[in-house]
Every structure is written in structure tokens, then in C-alpha cells.
């Protein structure tokens, strides 16, 4: 099951507001503290690794919904 979390909420907020994204890039700890991320989440964000973020958020979303060429 996908996990509702402070990280998921932060990702939504950052996705819709590029200025917030920039404020985050310049001073990530302030933004993250405002949102109340856990230590694990702080590490994930600092790492910038999309696979780890995806795994943390969990859920049965298929990793590769890719489409094959038509035979």
C-alpha cells in the first residue's frame, strides 16, 4: 500500500511551485523542517535517488509501465 507521508506531501508542493523548489535547492533543511520530514525522509531527499524515493513511498505501483513495440 502506498504510504501517505510528509515526503509525499512535500513532493506534491514542490511539483506545483518551482519557486519553492528553488528555495528548497538553496536551503533544503529550512524547507524540510517546515514540512516536518522524518530523518529517513531527510536522507532520501538529500540523496536524490529516484528509485529509493519510489521504494520508500511504496505501493503496488508497477515500476515499469512501459509499452512494447507492436509485433
Amino acid at each position: 500500500m502506498s504510504k501517505q507521508s510528509a515526503l509525499a506531501n512535500l513532493l506534491v508542493e514542490l511539483s506545483i511551485d518551482p519557486m519553492l523548489r528553488r528555495r528548497f535547492q538553496e536551503d533544503p533543511s529550512t524547507v524540510m523542517n517546515e514540512v516536518g520530514l522524518s530523518d529517513e525522509e531527510l536522507e532520501l531527499v538529500a540523496g536524490g535517488n529516484p528509485e529509493k524515493i519510489r521504494d520508500y513511498l511504496g505501493g503496488d505501483v508497477t515500476a515499469s509501465c512501459f509499452v512494447m513495440f507492436e509485433s
Partner: protein, 259 residues
């Protein structure tokens, strides 16, 4: 028109950041919302937008025949529409690019007398053009699925840009759950490309980001260097044109152009 409708929308690539207002309005107004997205944050957000959002990814399983899976999606959507509901289906990216079942669902719904339409979404190419800062119309652009490009001997011109989709899935013809890539297959791709391009010609292996805290993966290399890159199922190859194509002076004159 019968009561009951189908609207197909796209969510783009960046959680909620690329969901257009018209798509969002359609999702919220629907009696039933189905979705197929690439990662969990988008899913969580969609579920917060609609009380009964239903995922479609259960149709895919390891080794399943593709056509069956797509048919199941179409039928699931049509069944809901036939119940006289306003149905919305959301796919990541552009809902009509690399999806197959969406256009078919629209056609079939219309065929059965229902209103159906698709709204455009931000596609993977839209992200590529913005992230790589390239204009596909400047020199022309040719896009192919990579396995199709090889097995159907696609004809192309190096004086236009070339985009190859799914270079990480060469030769793969059924669905797989895990990320896979076919490194050896890339050597075959390079061999074919080197018949037309110098091996030192620049190429970019690109992957859009799904998260605002991660950068897109942009690997600038050469044709020969492609197999050394980190290539995943969602990797795309961008090959810039070698040069401007030669001017047809006769045609230019006929058009009254002095170049």
C-alpha cells in the same frame, strides 16, 4: 448522446506539477476515476483528489501478453461508461502516447454512442525538449520505438534529429515488472546507427525525472559511447542532426525565397 461519458487525461511527469487544470477538473468531476501512473507520489495525490480512484496496473503481470492487458483496460473503462457514469481515466505523461488502450477506449465508447474525448498531457518528448533545450522543428525530428526501429529497418535521415524510445528494452516483447536493460542489444543499435552517423557523432541518453527533488538523467556521449551509459527501460536516445540538409534552390526559387 447517451448518458455516460469517457474522458481520458494525462498527468504529465512531475507528481501534480504537470496536471493541467482541464485534466484536474475532469478527474474531480468524474463519477469514477481510473488511473495508471508511474510512481507512488502521483498515485497518493490522485487518491486525494477523488474518493474512489481505482488503479489499472493490476492488468499487468510478469510475462503477460500485451494485447490482453490493453484489452482488459479498454473493457474496464467501457463497462463503467455503460453504467451511465461519467468516467475519467488518467495515464501518466500524455494519455495517447505509448498507451495504446486509451485511443481504443475513446473509439469504442463513441462507437457505442457515448461522448468520449481525450485531453492532451505533457509527454516524455515535451520533457526532453525542455530539459535538453532542443527544438524538434528546427531541423525536423524523427521518433521511433527502438526495437521497432531496428526490426522494421526504419528509414531515416541524419540531417534531421532522431529520437529512439525505450533503448533499454531492445528485443523485449512482453511486460516485465523489474527494470531491465539490454546492454548487448545496444551494440547492435550502435552498429546500425554507425552505418549512417560517424561513431564520434554526439548522442544523448535521457531520462525525465518524476520527482522535483531529482534531476533528469542527461548523459552526453557519442554514438559509440551509448553502450557505456546507464540505460533503463525509460531511457530515450536523442541524436542531433549532423548538419542542415542541402537546400533545393529550385524549390526555394519557386517559393520566392532568397536564401
Amino acid at each position: 448522446m447517451k448518458k455516460g461519458s469517457l474522458t481520458i487525461v494525462g498527468t504529465g511527469f512531475l507528481v501534480a506539477g504537470q496536471v493541467t487544470p482541464e485534466a484536474l477538473a475532469s478527474m474531480r468531476a468524474a463519477d469514477q476515476l481510473f488511473f495508471l501512473v508511474a510512481e507512488p507520489a502521483t498515485r497518493l495525490w490522485l487518491e486525494s483528489q477523488h474518493p474512489s480512484a481505482e488503479p489499472l496496473d493490476y492488468v499487468f503481470w510478469e510475462g503477460r501478453h500485451r494485447q490482453e492487458a490493453y484489452e482488459e483496460i479498454v473493457e474496464r473503462l467501457l463497462a463503467a461508461v455503460r453504467q451511465r457514469n461519467d468516467v475519467c481515466a488518467a495515464f501518466y505523461g500524455h494519455p495517447g502516447v505509448f498507451v495504446y488502450s486509451s485511443h481504443e477506449a475513446v473509439r469504442r465508447a463513441r462507437g457505442e454512442g457515448f461522448t468520449a474525448r481525450m485531453l492532451p498531457g505533457v509527454s516524455a518528448e515535451d520533457c526532453l525538449f525542455a530539459d535538453l533545450e532542443v527544438d524538434p522543428a528546427a531541423y525536423g525530428c524523427q521518433s521511433f520505438e527502438a526495437t521497432d526501429f531496428l526490426v522494421r529497418g526504419r528509414v531515416f535521415d541524419p540531417h534531421s534529429a532522431l529520437i529512439l524510445w525505450q533503448i533499454g528494452a531492445l528485443g523485449v516483447t512482453t511486460f516485465h515488472l523489474h527494470d531491465l536493460w539490454n546492454a548487448e542489444g545496444l551494440n547492435i543499435l550502435v552498429e546500425v546507427l554507425c552505418r549512417v552517423y560517424p561513431s564520434t557523432h554526439s548522442a544523448i541518453v535521457y531520462e525525465a525525472t518524476h520527482y522535483p527533488v531529482c534531476n533528469p538523467l542527461i548523459q552526453r556521449t557519442t554514438i559509440a559511447g551509448i553502450p557505456e551509459c546507464q540505460v533503463n527501460t525509460h531511457s530515450t536516445l536523442w541524436v542531433p542532426p549532423v548538419a542542415k540538409a542541402r537546400l533545393d534552390t529550385g524549390m526555394a526559387a519557386q517559393l520566392g525565397l532568397s536564401i
